[in-house]
Amino acid sequence: MRELNMVKAINDALGVMLAHDPNVLIFGEDVGYFGGVFRATEGLQAKHGLKRCFDTPIAEGGIIATAIGMGVQGLRPVPEIQFADYILPAFDQLVSEAARLRYRSGGEFWAPITVRSPYGGGIFGGQTHSQSPEAIFAHVTGLKTVIPSTPYDAKGLLIAAIECDDPVIFLEPKRLYNGPFDGHHDREIASWAGHPAAQVPEGHYTVPLGKAAIVRPGEAVTVLAYGTMVHVALAAVADAGVDAEVVDLRSIVPLDIETILASVNKTGRCVIVHEASRFGGFGGELSALIQERCFYGLETPIERVAGWDTPYPHAFEWDYFPGPGRIAAALRRVMESN
């Protein structure tokens, strides 16, 4: 056990897998000598060699295509896309190829790739360094989408993703790399130091894909969140003084439907939170699923707190970001109505 921040935990997971499995290799823009713009691959090239962790041309489609071809030969490539905003040039490769290969080839070929990418806002990155594209991946049959919220989970989920035989989109909430940001941007910045989930075991361990975590048990209302929003939701729950059960989904595909339904069946109320813009976001799917399966147990409408239906606006970061204030207000509304 050591205390690691999230980016170090990710670096640790990659190092463990490079040592553990000769079929693992890592590549992406600036990931080699430089160690990545967020330092997630720092030291890996020096330790494991030029062929295990290397730089690529700036061509996200090419990065994913290359990874697929390698995966087909039995390797387990872990490509990095520098920002999730730049994953779109590779969208066709991910959807039409990685996600469909096993199915269409009758099981002859598949692509066990893990695509890491920093995502989300809260860092004044403006339109194209802040977006949360998870919804468009969740809709793609054949892709898994994983989003950790702590160093412990980040390492365990990343190892599980790399060992998974399906293509996995691994979205890293970049605002959490250095600390468990709770959305109170005007307060002092927290680091991971002292946080229980920053205790990261050495070596190999996994956190299974498709299992949510109840990060705060409660009776009054269920809050569904992932990534940075887990911490923001916890702060909002404290601020609102509501006995909420906060569920960190951890992976949105596969989705831990059992944990979700059990919680909502218990509380009868639900608030869904995500950073991505609301319309057509993943919150819609969650809301629909719960409504379909817990209809008669719901006391009040399921609420969604999300980014507004605008591009990510630089100067208005804190107006756009679903902060603790907006979530607390939703919690109060849900508790008061009916």
């Binding site: 290799l25 062929k51 690529t56 697929i68 071809g69 039409s96 099981g107 002859e108």
Partner: protein, 412 residues
């Protein structure tokens, strides 16, 4: 500025449209045997002339000439001829099966059979091709079971792809044939990654990728070339320039003033331009590029100059957009007839053997179709419904399990 003519953009048009005189017969074709054959391990810097030549081995009389003659055994030549004839017979039979409503879709390779056949035989069993739908002769050259192919085309219960894929979008791993898909160009980069994986694993397998000339316009094509060049991947990157992309002629892919092979220059790799209707030239170029790849000299781009004789697919009628007679006037001739002529001219083939071979092939194709029909044609037979939910992931998640049981396709 004001005395200049106004700005204009240019929309390329093919040499002729239906009702116009086809100019294709007038295409100047360089003679066979003239292009130099540099050492396969030469620096790409010294090869920048090659993309503007046309490598040809078989001359008008069916003689193999010049430095690119691969000196194949008669046995190998006969193998090639058989693969090409089989491809053609199979295409004709299955195209008719579509007209008879036995399948939803079909595409022919007519006129381009030499490419897949020659390359399939020139490479090793452990090599992998990343095909287009128009190189089925690769599989025929390697003896892929015809009946499995027909089962796939009929999407019946024995379809090796379990009813999940459009007819002819095969996958045949054990025959070095990667999974096809409808999306053009997306697999070109997979070949590069696959080749890099061979190198990484230090096994002796190289990759060969195909793209139609129309498909070269996709960004995927460029990214694959870039990765191949940067990492010197052991891959052969082929462009089958059959002059047409559905109704669009090759000039629409950006080569009115250059060649597809010349793209190689900008990536620092060799580019060869090869008579794609010449079985020997295709073989020789492939051997050269394979030697280069296996010698860690990296990728080669090969443009095969050929002609798509049939329509694009069962969905189009080519006489709506090009002169009917264009195919016949194509100056590089028919690859099957040219190889047949060569074999005859070297005394290794005759009309009698040819007729016997045709009959044998015909019987093979008929019997495969008959066998597959007995299983069932499209809509008459299909794999078990549970197959719809298999293979989405390595293991189905709760959604698939629920939906499978909702539709009554079993719980387990």
């Amino acid at each position: 500025m004001s005395n200049r003519p106004p700005l204009e953009f240019h929309v390329p048009e093919p040499p002729a449209r239906p009702g116009q005189l086809s100019e294709i017969a007038g295409t100047v074709v360089p003679e066979a045997g003239l292009v130099r054959r540099p050492d396969a391990l030469s620096s790409s810097v010294d090869l920048r002339d090659l993309p503007f030549e046309l490598i040809r081995v078989l001359d008008d009389d069916g003689q193999a000439i010049g430095p690119w003659d691969p000196r194949l055994s008669p046995e190998r030549l006969r193998q090639g001829l058989k693969a090409m004839l089989l491809t053609r017979a199979f295409d004709d039979r299955l195209f008719r099966a579509h007209r008879q409503g036995k399948t939803s879709f079909y595409m022919k390779s007519t006129g381009e059979e030499a490419i897949g056949a020659a390359q399939s035989l020139a490479l090793e069993p452990q090599d992998m091709c990343f095909p287009t739908y128009r190189v089925m002769s690769w599989l025929h050259a390697r003896g892929y079971p015809l009946v499995d192919m027909v089962n796939q085309i009929f999407s019946n219960e024995r379809d090796p792809l379990r009813g999940r894929q459009l007819p002819i979008l095969f996958s045949a791993r054990d025959y070095g044939f990667y999974s096809l898909s409808g999306n053009l160009g997306t697999r070109y980069g997979h070949a590069v990654g696959w080749a890099m994986a061979s190198a990484y694993r230090q096994i002796d397998s190289i990759a060969l990728a195909y793209s139609g000339e129309g498909t070269t316009a996709e960004g995927d094509f460029h990214e694959a070339l870039t990765f191949a060049a940067v990492y010197r991947a052991p891959v052969i990157l082929c462009v089958t320039n059959n002059q047409w992309a559905i109704s669009s002629f090759a000039g629409l892919a950006g080569t009115e003033n250059t060649t597809f092979a010349a793209r190689a220059i900008g990536y620092g790799m060799p580019g060869l331009r090869v008579d794609g209707n010449d079985f020997l030239a295709v073989t020789a170029a492939t051997q050269w590029a394979a030697e280069r790849a296996r010698g860690n000299m990296g990728p080669t781009l090969i443009e095969f100059y050929t002609y798509r004789v049939a329509g694009h697919s069962t969905s189009d009628d080519p006489t709506r957009y090009r002169p009917r007679e264009e195919a016949e006037q194509w100056p590089l001739g028919d690859p099957v007839a040219r190889l047949q002529q060569h074999l005859i001219s070297i005394g290794e083939w005759d009309d009698e053997r040819h007729s016997a071979l045709l009959a044998e092939i015909d019987a093979q194709v008929r019997s495969a179709v008959r066998e597959a029909e007995a299983v069932g044609t499209l809509g008459k037979s299909k794999p078990p419904l549970s197959e719809m939910f298999e293979g989405v992931f390595a293991e189905p998640d709760w959604r698939l399990i629920e939906q499978r049981s909702e539709i009554g396709a079993g719980n387990a």
